[in-house]
Amino acid sequence: MLPGLWYNFLVFFLVVVFGVVLGLIFSTIRLNTNIAVRAIAAFYIGLFRNAPEYITLVWFLYVPALVLSKLLESNVTFEPLVVAVMALSLSAGAFYAEIFRAGILSVPKGQIEAARATGMSRTLTLRRIILPQAIRQMLPEFFNECVSVFKGTTLVSLVMVPDLVYGVNLVSSYTGQALPLYTGIALIYFFIVFTMTSIAEKLSNPWRDKTR
């Protein structure tokens, strides 16, 4: 059963990486000056922030494979792991995008204008003025989202990825030993998530205090 935990960490790692990339892309698009371009990002963010993760997972489990099979007229199937990472990344990406956007918007406009007025280029303004402040602002939220991504990885058992929850369900249905098994995984996840939360707080607190 316990090797199933590696699937949780694997999915967590992949989802954070893809989610951050999607979040960066869409938060930039969302801050674009063109309203039509902005609407694309608003649509994506609105869609995946409001869709429950379970629905997103089940939708990705069935629909892309079927649509591709019909289009290509051959039998297309996706690995459960691919489906899970795809769905959870898209979901997490929408949340990361909003966090990044809020962080960037928290930098006062006057500072950006001042930097531009003293002759700094756009990229230099971003690197020296916006990012150092924005990152400090969004770190606590960012770590919170990472923790909820980890908690969300337990959902992959529902699309047949053999993670810890999946293994426990299987063993429990064979042996009928529900009490120790389910209490056990609840405690295991509690320890992991609690440790992650404590580390996140330790990491983000000194950063936050520097500017405020």
Binding site: P52, V58, L155
Partner: protein, 224 residues
Amino acid sequence: MASFLETAWGRAMWNARDHLLDGLTITLQVTALGFIGAVVIGLALCLITMYIKPLYWPARFLVNFFRATPIICQLMWVNYVWPPLFGWPTSLFQAGCVALALQSAGYLAETFRAGIEGINRGHIEAGRSLGMPAHLVMRRIILPQAFHMMAPAIMNQFMVVIRSSTLVSIIGVADLMHWGHHLSAEWFEPIGIMSTIAVFYIVVIGTLSSLFKWYSERLRNRYV
């Protein structure tokens, strides 16, 4: 409407409309009961950690435990472990509500604590020195002010409860998600059926969250 009924999935959903409506009712009931339970348990846990010294550590542990366990673990834990241990909950529906309530109670306890600690101490001392008993100070001075500060976080937690309520279908509660899954498998038309269910959830949750956003902005403009 006519073209909707011409598709196989449209007909399947139309014929099962009673089930889908029942499912929707169950979803709303689970969400409402889970949220009300979360507020009650959360408030109790928060007051215990703040005012009853000997129970501080047990209550802290419960808050952290509820917050740090994934909802799916908690659903299974309540559904499979509690009945042999405590003889309750007796139905899947109750188990779903309890699990949702516990999960959010942990978060709400933290929110309440931050809200109550954020109240100006002078207000509390003023109330006490005017001769108000502690419970009256709590009811008349602390809670009304704290509510305005906590409203956005509380409403945010309500959205989390609706989103998590889709998961009660995994322990066998016949909510909207359950019927969506069931119909997709029965008619093998998941593209239409699952997409419709997904759009439905997105519209409901999106509408509620914009309403909440509007309301909390109004509260902030009025009182802060």
